[in-house]
């Protein structure tokens, strides 16, 4: 794990990005503290995914600075990548490898010990029964779950999730929320690109809305997450009332 340089988990200062003549981001500034889970909202083409890809080191900003725990995403890519768990809109799996082999490849690329329990990660996401089956035969939801299992291997301090609920059934949405909440409760931060708030109800601390490549709004989530300390207090209060 890389030593932290900043108190902030995610920070953007005037981030702009141009594709050809079109400015997709026009100076986005935002901050996420460790333990904070933020939903990123906005219409199609507003620049949400572009911003997430910049934080994920997959695009370089045309102007401005983006930092993950104080590390510049454009210059300190290796330090940033060891902090990140990035779930893209597409699963990024290899169709001709089995579920277990896909995870084995991920574990090898992450430099994890050979004995790392891949089957446990697959069991957790509900794919224990198809460990040795090729991904080619998986449904979109199963592929999403496998991508989630790969994300779990990283033990990342920052989660970047692009429309994480797409193709997931009710149980899958609950599992996704459980994983996001766990990350937040453990002090990690998560930036979640969403089209609708409903699946993430009770998971987010805050929402940020992007419009025309700029931050248009930042407000507390309509159904805020019960943080551990708050939850403990609530439990103590409930106990005292009995």
């Amino acid at each position: 794990m890389v030593t932290s340089k900043s108190e902030l988990a995610i920070e953007a200062q005037g981030v702009a990005r141009r594709f050809g003549a079109r400015w997709v981001l026009r100076g986005v500034s935002l901050q996420l503290e460790p333990g904070e889970i933020v939903g990123l909202l906005g219409a199609n083409g507003s620049g949400k995914t572009t911003l997430l890809r910049i934080f994920g080191t997959l695009l370089k900003p045309t102007a401005g600075t983006a930092l993950i725990y104080g590390h510049d995403v454009a210059r300190e890519t290796d330090a940033v990548r060891s902090e990140l768990g990035f779930l893209a809109h597409t699963p990024g799996l290899y169709d001709d490898l089995t579920a277990r082999e896909n995870l084995k490849f991920g574990a090898m690329m992450l430099g994890l010990p050979a004995g790392n329990n891949l089957d446990a990660a697959l069991e957790r996401v509900g794919l224990g029964h198809v460990i040795n089956e090729r991904v080619r035969g998986f449904s979109a939801g199963m592929q999403r779950r496998l991508a989630l299992a790969r994300l779990l291997l990283r033990h990342a301090r920052v989660l970047l999730l692009d429309e994480p609920y797409s193709n997931l059934d009710t149980a899958g949405i609950a599992l996704m929320n459980e994983i996001i909440t766990e990350a937040g409760n453990a002090g990690g931060a998560a930036l979640v690109v969403l089209h609708e708030l409903a699946p993430a109800a009770g998971v987010l601390d805050r929402t940020i809305t992007i419009e025309n490549g700029r931050v248009a709004d930042s407000r507390p989530a309509p159904v805020p997450r019960l943080r551990p300390r708050t939850a403990e207090r609530a439990a103590a209060g409930a106990g005292g009332g009995r």
Partner: protein
């Protein structure tokens, strides 16, 4: 420790590429079939003159390997582009050159196997007798294949970012391969006819030097073509 991790990553990429290729089968079968087909077409174009066939054998062999190789190099990144796997690959920590070396190993085995088939068919089709200096000829084929794979893997990575990658790859690759092909064809031809002018040695040295220069240059530059 970091180097051991890099070696592990190289192994992972080579294993993944070879496993997916072995299971899909379509890739190797089509590449080998294309190589053989081009060789047969060269045979038809040259006619029944046995001497003309023997004289053109080295050139026909290398050009068949080149055209079939382009298909193989494109496929090696096609697997990454399907379902966004390239983004995930770039998300892993570690230097970018490990991706290049991993793919280089997989492509070398893949193209090497294709070359064996093309050579076997070429020997039969072009009525070439195996020369006494066959170990040197084998060395030329190995060095030529390395040059082809080094540049092919590198330019396929560059072209993979473009929507017109199938067209772009040959346009980028063919001019850069001219020195490698020239040295490989000249050395092969000299060895096939008995190397009476003692020119094969110079061509082999030149081929080795090209391989080394291109390998070092592409290893260094890979990061700049794969990252955007």
């Amino acid at each position: 420790m970091a180097f051991r991790d890099d070696v592990r990553r190289i192994r992972a990429i080579a294993w993944k590429d070879l496993t997916t290729e072995r299971r899909s089968k379509a890739g190797f079968n089509s590449v080998a079939a294309l190589g053989v087909t081009i060789l047969v077409l060269f045979g038809f174009a040259l006619g029944p003159d046995a001497q003309a066939l023997r004289d053109a054998a080295a050139g026909a062999l290398w050009l068949s390997a080149l055209f079939a190789g382009v298909l193989a190099f494109n496929r090696s990144y096609q697997v990454e582009l399907e379902s966004g796997a390239l983004d995930q690959l770039l998300q892993y920590p570690g230097p970018r050159w490990v991706i290049y070396v991993g793919k280089l190993i997989a492509n070398s085995l893949f193209v090497g196997l294709m070359l064996i088939i093309v050579i076997a068919v070429g020997i039969a089709l072009f009525q070439v007798s195996i020369p006494a200096a066959w170990p040197s000829l084998l060395g030329v084929f190995a060095l030529g294949a390395v040059g082809l794979v080094v540049l092919g893997t590198f330019y396929a990575a560059m072209a993979s970012r473009s929507r017109a990658r199938e067209v772009l790859l040959p346009l980028l690759l063919f001019p850069m391969l001219v020195p490698v092909l020239l040295a490989a064809i000249s050395a092969s031809k000299a060895l096939l006819v008995g190397d009476m002018m003692h020119e094969a040695g110079a061509w082999i040295k030149l081929l080795g030097a090209y391989d080394l220069i291109f390998f070092v240059a592409t290893l260094w530059a890979f990061e700049y073509v794969i990252e955007v």
